[in-house]
Symmetry: D3
Subunit: 282 residues, 6 copies
């Protein structure tokens, strides 16, 4: 899923935040040899995500811990389900507890919200849900993975991984057609050329200029229908901005190809997951 070094760096950074001065309480109260088993439990219905980072947190704290995954990423589970288990030194488990949960609660939160969007897509439409670059600074690779675990797809990864021509680019170049042509002349040939338009006239111009993807910005439903009819498969149609759960179905039925939803990553609440710890004695 996530490149190993990225994973390790994020885990090191997060553990550093919580443990730079050790764990005063556990070091005072728990003998080094006290053992435990701890289970991460879903406290709400959720889509699991993050088993790899959960394990990495604990292995980083203490390589002698043993972590087990019960629920694979992307699986929907009811409340009460045991997701993962970690066993070994109680001191070590408590040292990693908060950090591990902070990761998986966030990732499962994103996967769970994503799944709710995906489930609104009527089966007979071709529409797909995609994320945006509105991710948490420092966690983009993790959050994009959570979106995939939720069943949606990713948009471009970064400003260098796709061409998206907006109004200011068009204004600077002096016209939509010129912008598309110039971008095609410079961008990697593996990138499609996407252009954001605000009117039906612009849709016509984008099609004529050979845009690969047309993003319809703030189109009224009626106008949206007309735009999609004009395009009729000659370009992919993307709709973005303020997409709520309630609008998904009608957008999909209108023939939109791609529905991008910033909220998947910028506004998902953490999933409720707790770590249930049982001491085993020394």
């Amino acid at each position: 899923m996530i490149p190993s070094a990225l994973l390790q760096q994020a885990v090191d950074r997060a553990l550093g935040e919580d443990l730079h001065a050790g764990d005063v309480t556990s070091e005072a109260l728990l003998g080094e040899d006290v053992q435990c088993v701890a289970r991460a439990l879903a406290k709400q219905p959720l889509v699991a995500c993050g088993s790899e980072v959960f394990a990495r947190v604990f292995y980083t704290v203490d390589p002698t811990l043993r972590v087990e995954e019960f629920v694979a990423d992307g699986q929907q589970v009811p409340p009460g389900t045991a997701l993962y288990c970690v066993e070994g030194s109680a001191r070590s488990v408590l040292a990693g507890e908060r950090t591990a949960l902070n990761f998986v609660q966030r990732l499962a939160g994103i996967a769970t919200l994503t799944r709710r969007f995906v489930e609104r897509l009527p089966a007979e439409t071709k529409a797909r849900i995609v994320d945006t670059r509105k991710t948490t600074p420092g966690l983009r690779a993790f959050e994009r993975y959570a979106v995939r675990s939720g069943g949606a797809r990713n948009h471009r990864d970064s400003l260098g991984a796709g061409v998206l021509i907006k109004d200011n680019h068009i204004a600077a170049v002096g016209g939509l057609t010129a912008a598309i042509q110039r971008a095609r002349g410079v961008a990697p040939h593996s990138h499609r050329i996407e252009v954001e338009v605000e009117s039906l006239a612009a849709v016509d111009e984008a099609l004529a200029a050979g845009a690969d993807i047309i993003m319809l910005d703030n189109f009224e439903p009626a106008e949206l229908g007309l735009a999609i009819e004009k395009i009729s498969g000659r370009a992919l149609v993307e709709v973005s901005g303020g997409v709520t759960l309630d609008r998904v179905e009608s957008l999909a039925r209108a023939g939109v190809d791609v529905i991008s939803v910033g909220a998947l990553t910028h506004s998902a609440a953490a999933a409720d997951i707790s770590l249930d710890l049982e001491l085993l004695g020394s």
Copy 2:
């Protein structure tokens, strides 16, 4: 606010995620000398937060940009308010746009949610709202700052910055009194000793053992009242776990000192802020 090196590292990391392969579109379409002015606008009522990181993102992308702050961190503003302004090379502004917004939308989101909790505290009570360690991995210092901007206070920063004795610690030591004594004998003298209790009997024992802070876990309202009466100022009273906006007032009126709310950081939705960019020509 946030130590300069931490700030820079987080900004570098986030810009790296978005710009490691440059900005294909703007490099293709905007001449190097096209200038612009861009304003960050609140699109909803919000508590501003993050002006320093907003500026740092743009200064890192291009030291010749000029950033201005119109609204100080912690100030509540209506929709439509211009929060910050950045002026200079349009390429540079577009290169930093998403990263800067990802930071301030998250921080303002936290500050705004925090303010809503704080506003529920009746003026005549002594209760305060505090955050928890349930922060986004890698952004703890930022999120704690946002909580303060929202008007609440911080809990301990890390496992090393405070003693919090929980059931497993007590079980391992063999009793609440022993746990408090042992912790006091080891922890820095600048730390208060906090203990989590689940019964009135445990409140008595904690008081007798000299706990500085007693965290009441899952007490029914009636029992909560009895516990606070027993304690009557001999220790600080903290309530944690599942605190919703609706419960704040009654908890405060019951005499609780500290109400800790994980949702401030783990479940705040991003505040809606956009960057309005106007080209100035070259």
Copy 3:
């Protein structure tokens, strides 16, 4: 060009290699106040590249140095041309000399070799030269920039920034059509789907399955012509592998769209650039 933090990290790393123990000779022999002016001179015909990193090296060693660019990146110059100039403390200039040259010699070397390939493209063809992922570990962003400075274009930046289906992928999925369909169902919609084929039959299948780009692997000239005729604009045609200067013209005339050349980055010799230093006294 290159994100500021990437630039700084590469410069810090390179200076660390050369200066971790200071500069024994200059610290022994040059007073702190000895001033100099030094010019970077092309000792061969070359395409300049790297003025920004040249400056950053010296500014990092000593922020009081003054650097001037005489020749913009991408410009072709004859031997003897002064490219850049740095002025200030002689100790500081000598401390940065080797590191600055190591960067610009490599980048100008790549830009110069790239230009030679680009110049072989007949004006009346649509073919373009592109680079590959065969870059120096740790310097990919720099080398892709040098390729652009040389007048060519970039291929995908990383394994996540484009889909390229090869024989093993096809074998694993059980067929070229299935592979294209499955990739389209998963990859970001901003990516084109590219497939590598080894026979005319595979070209047919790729076209039928809707491949966006077809990479022709080891096709004989005659076969290549047939393949391009079959494709006739329905997909982009890429040729890769062992492309020498001599083959560029015929490939372009055959109607190839994209000619990718690993040698641009993995085998360019350093351009000969030296730093001519003149002491100014204290």
Copy 4:
């Protein structure tokens, strides 16, 4: 060979360049359980170098991969030789393929070019080939190792690891003798004092002042002979700058001790090595 942390950092950095957004193609098309065996094959005669970094790349991508070395660093092999082998998850092998090859192609390229220079040294002379500080930014330790694998020796590692007095130093101090004396009075006693001279008179002065190494800069062959005769063992003689393969033998026969060659690291073409992958099924 190379300190473990340096090795890991370079590998992490390189993998980050290629994998920060995952491998879209393989994740789409290869099941997690598809296994493979892949052999790194020499496609030209070469001196192998880099088995340790080859293995580290794959172990970093996926610790369950198994890597085997067939050819030790420094060994000369004919085309077609299998150098290394990696076995395990096909996804993981493809994720690391390009990065691993980018390292070993560069290192083998340097070792191979170095060997060609070394082979030109007549057996009966004492001359040795050494590298310079003209290395790729960020890869100095790797490239110095490749030079040793090729059979040559290293020059000083950094500006702090040796004294080399050049014309500007001499000008600043006011004379060659003064420069040597002052350097000797400051530098670590474990360093030899080397001085670059441009005339026979300067050779005399350097000898009189007790230089340990004399670098002859741009001496005509006749003059070179006279200089070496003057020196006759009282100092080591180094020749640097523009040394081509053709000049090695005559320099060695003239009695030069050290021939330093920047091209070893700044202009070696990558050795042609490819990874031959065979799927094993799941």
Copy 5:
């Protein structure tokens, strides 16, 4: 003890300082297969500290080395005691020797000096020795651990982990009472409020304002007694600044709770420990 990532980073950094250019001598003179066993010996009476970092250094150099701990951290041993043992490749052991010793000599030096202070505390007093923030830049977590190994306790970890009000703070706020109140209104409730005072009058004011800890700055012995009498358990009493071994007993007997000693970390001499290496042949 010390978070794993912090430990690894410090070890990587230190090894980088010593090994960035390899170990010229051992690579020249020791075959790769020469084995050895080496024992770390105490050459003076000391309190051992640092077995974990000792092991980590060698495992980082070469994961095939085997390290054994004979003496646990915090144990007092006579000269001649074997503390640790490392066995395996002689090249690897020599590569890590100096770095490993640099760590444990420093840590044992701090633990040993700390123990001397702790032993001066009369058993029947409640006084404890604590450290300060006067630690070596970059090694705070290590040095705090060494202090605990020596038998003393830690003061606050950082400026964010405790409130300590000094004269300038009081002056800025306009009075000691106001300062304490304001600090209490802002600081995390888990922190005690400490105030530094310089007169008996200030002691009175601090007590009245509810200070949790009172630091007596430069009190004469007689005055100190009066101050402690006034306080009589209503706040903790700390004495800091220029505390020598000779003063410990009288301070403890005077009823001081906390004696903080900067010298523990800023002026401990390294403990004398050497590595005794025995070659085993190949």
Copy 6:
């Protein structure tokens, strides 16, 4: 002095240790606009060292601070001397105070101790004092600089920057002569070959084999004299291990060239320096 990136990284790391959670006290009690001037005062006779790092700490905390150096590195001053001055926001000055002092107290401590050793060298001898690799992990470049500020010289910087043949190397190779020859055949020609010997016979062998530096290990005074007589200038003579202030003069008079002293860096007590802060109002 110290490469800029190394300096910045060490400062960032140290500030991170002290400020990761901000400065609770000053943020609570000092308005953002309170200004101050603060002077770093020598509280003992000392050799100043570290003005650059002192400034960098404060500039990193807050680029608007103004720092002035009154006493250059390497200058000896009496108690009471103002060394440096920093002016600006009181919050910022207090935030950097401890970190800045931790650096300069350590560096001045080393420079001061070094000066004491250097002053013991009789003027008419050629002996010099040098440091060792027994430095604080992570601060080697700083401490070597402090040693130079104190008037001594540096030994080799790392295991790669010099050849030092010890008993184990000799044993592994099978003899001192063979060891010297083999080392000379592999090491960079800019390195001198140093060998540690334990007997007069070994001195003879070392001389015959052409050792450049002979380190006399544990020679009795009489034997030492004999050894130096034998060597009589054909190699440099180094003495190392347990050199106290009292032994310096006799070693120098005996004719030793180099006296290396580990205590300079591993056991120097911090110099007593405090920051005297005066509030200026807002």
